[in-house]
């Protein structure tokens, strides 16, 4: 290899890169002295939750990556098989800490569908509001969180403050800050408190300001652009091959959104366009999420304007302590801030579910996709790529 003249002419030393065996696999001989194993996580500032990455590196380039999970396994799916349907609600919300409300909505929806229960219109509006508030608080962490991976920590602090204000609103409405158990079979647990709309608007105005500031901090910032444009590229042909959904698919030009494609609750009465980008790199995914943050603010304003002032919030259901859901199975889905989030539910006609299985976006994003994306990445970009997929380990190991 030629001697390097200066840093701008630097070329990776490919002579150290592993050759391929006849079967197409990389010939990685750890005793050759060319490779180093680097463990990122399970507890690492660049890891979203308890997950670890086993990286084999050559120089500062990743040649092989393996995702390891299991640090947070609590067996929720198994535990729910031994509980009454109503007892599953405090359990299921814990399957994804970032957005617990989708779990309670999907479980309630499954039970209602299998039992043939229609919920009142007011409850549908309130559920739509809660799901959008959940998306809002999640995006307030995720959008600036991407900048946080590049040491632009101030955005994270702004986001955490504003997220706390949204959690205050959740506390007013549901009594809980992180886990709410507000959505129950047949409807929801309560109406909006007096003055809630005004307080919501005050918080939304602050978030409007935050969006302007984040524009300067991230999208007009040369450091952020240099570190994200062209990095963490997802080929459009990978979308179906790897089961990529949500903002990660939309950033590659795939306008897929469960809210539009399979409208549920009141989404078909709301005016919104599915956001998308084309470049499919970290910058494009951040841009999609920023646009979704703006869209969520708008959707919440629309919901607050269109919501009826009064109405029933719960349809009659059998006594939940003796409720036997008719035999059957279903799959219901919703659009979380990370993409398609679904529950496959089986009832055998008894008081407890036969099987509840969560389909979370991280299951594919954080394992098969991430393991592929990290190959040839620089070790300094690993956490940035991972955060750009918005992974949530608890939903992998339910």
């Amino acid at each position: 290899m030629k001697k390097q003249k200066n840093i701008f002419n630097w070329q990776a030393d490919r002579s150290k890169y592993p050759e391929k065996k006849k079967n197409g696999k990389l010939d990685i001989d750890m005793s050759s002295g060319k490779f180093v194993k680097l463990w990122q996580g399970p507890n690492h500032p660049g890891i979203t939750g308890n997950m670890s990455l086993e990286l084999t590196i050559s120089g500062d380039e990743v040649v092989e990556a393996k995702t390891h999970v299991g640090y947070l396994h609590r067996g929720f799916e198994k535990l729910m098989e031994r509980r009454l349907w109503i007892q599953c609600f405090p359990t299921c919300v814990r399957m994804c800490v970032a957005e617990p409300d989708y779990n309670e909505y999907l479980l309630a929806k499954s039970a209602e569908e299998l039992s043939g229960i229609e919920i009142p219109e007011m409850a549908e509006w309130l559920r739509t509001l809660v799901l959008e508030m959940a998306r809002l608080q999640s995006l307030l962490r995720t959008v600036p969180g991407q900048a946080g991976t590049l040491s632009l920590g101030v955005g994270v602090q702004w986001g955490v403050y504003l997220r706390d204000l949204v959690l205050d609103l959740f506390e007013e409405l549901t009594g809980g800050r992180v886990y709410h158990m507000y959505i129950i079979p047949g409807g929801v647990r309560g109406l909006l408190p007096d003055g809630f709309k005004k307080r919501m608007e005050e918080v939304l105005k602050k978030i409007d300001e935050f969006v302007k500031n984040i524009e300067n901090l991230m999208f007009n910032n040369i450091v952020f652009k240099k570190r994200t444009i062209g990095v963490g590229y997802i080929k459009p042909s990978w979308i179906d091959k790897y089961g990529i959904v949500g903002p990660n698919a939309r950033a590659a030009g795939f306008k897929r959104d469960v809210r539009k494609d399979y409208p549920y609750l009141k989404y078909n009465e709301l005016d919104f366009e599915v956001t998308s980008e084309k470049d499919s790199d970290i910058f494009a995914r951040s841009m999609v999420r920023k646009k979704e943050l703006i869209m969520t603010i708008d959707l919440i304003r629309q919901i607050m304007a269109k919501m009826p002032k009064k109405g029933d919030i719960k349809a009659p259901t059998p006594n939940v302590l003796h409720w036997k859901i008719p035999k059957g199975e279903t799959y219901v889905r919703s659009e979380s801030s990370r993409g398609e989030y679904g529950f496959y539910t089986v009832s055998d006609g008894s008081k407890t579910p036969r099987r509840i299985n969560l389909r979370g976006p991280s299951y594919t994003h954080a394992i098969s996709l991430l393991e592929r994306m990290l190959v040839n990445a620089n070790i300094a970009d690993v956490h940035s790529i991972m955060v750009s997929l918005q992974t949530c380990p608890p939903e992998i190991e339910r």
């Binding site: 098989e81 199975e329 799959y331 496959y344 099987r355």
Partner: protein, 172 residues
């Protein structure tokens, strides 16, 4: 949806057809024909999005139900394919060549239900559990409470009191 179901009914003799909603239908297929059916649906009927794959333990019948949910993103339709395999010889043909993420699902099913998928990449590597030496924990005959009591409780130095006895003692 009707045409799709007719097509797969003619080709693969699917049974127990349940139209759960307008856009999702559940069908049952024989074990030997299932992977061929999934391949046909992906390649010829536009079901390109693999939603999920999981198992249900019907211990009373001695069977595992494997459910594959496929989605057609253009037509916005879902088809869920059930297939039943014996609990005693729980083996199923692998589908990892069709979608990249399938091997992860199969690895988890091997660990949690003990269902083997010969030829699936890394299927024998531990996924969530490490050093597990009991029966696969998501099987219905695995008793969570018993396992927890045997493994984690009582810890040394920890005392258990009967609440009524404890109160009587402390109130007197």
């Amino acid at each position: 949806m009707e045409n799709i179901i007719k097509d797969i009914q003619n080709r693969f003799e699917v049974s127990d057809i349940v139209n759960q909603r307008d856009n999702i239908t559940f069908v049952t297929c024989e074990k030997e024909k299932t992977i061929a059916l999934i391949t046909h649906m992906k390649k010829n009927l536009g079901f390109k999005h693999f939603v999920l794959m999981t198992a249900v333990d019907w211990i009373e019948d001695g069977l595992f139900q494997l459910t594959y949910i496929l989605n057609n993103p253009k037509k916005k339709l879902d088809v869920a394919i059930r297939t039943f395999i014996s609990r005693e010889n729980a083996t199923m043909e692998t589908a990892h060549k069709l979608w990249k993420q399938v091997s992860t699902y199969q690895r988890e099913l091997k660990e949690m239900f003990g269902i083997d998928f010969p030829g699936s990449p890394r299927v024998n590597e531990s996924f969530i559990l490490e050093g597990w030496n009991d029966i696969p924990p998501y099987r219905r005959d695995f008793q969570t409470k018993e396992y927890a009591e045997k493994t984690y409780f009582p810890r040394p130095g920890r005392k258990t009191n009967d609440p009524s006895e404890y109160m009587k003692k402390n109130m007197s």
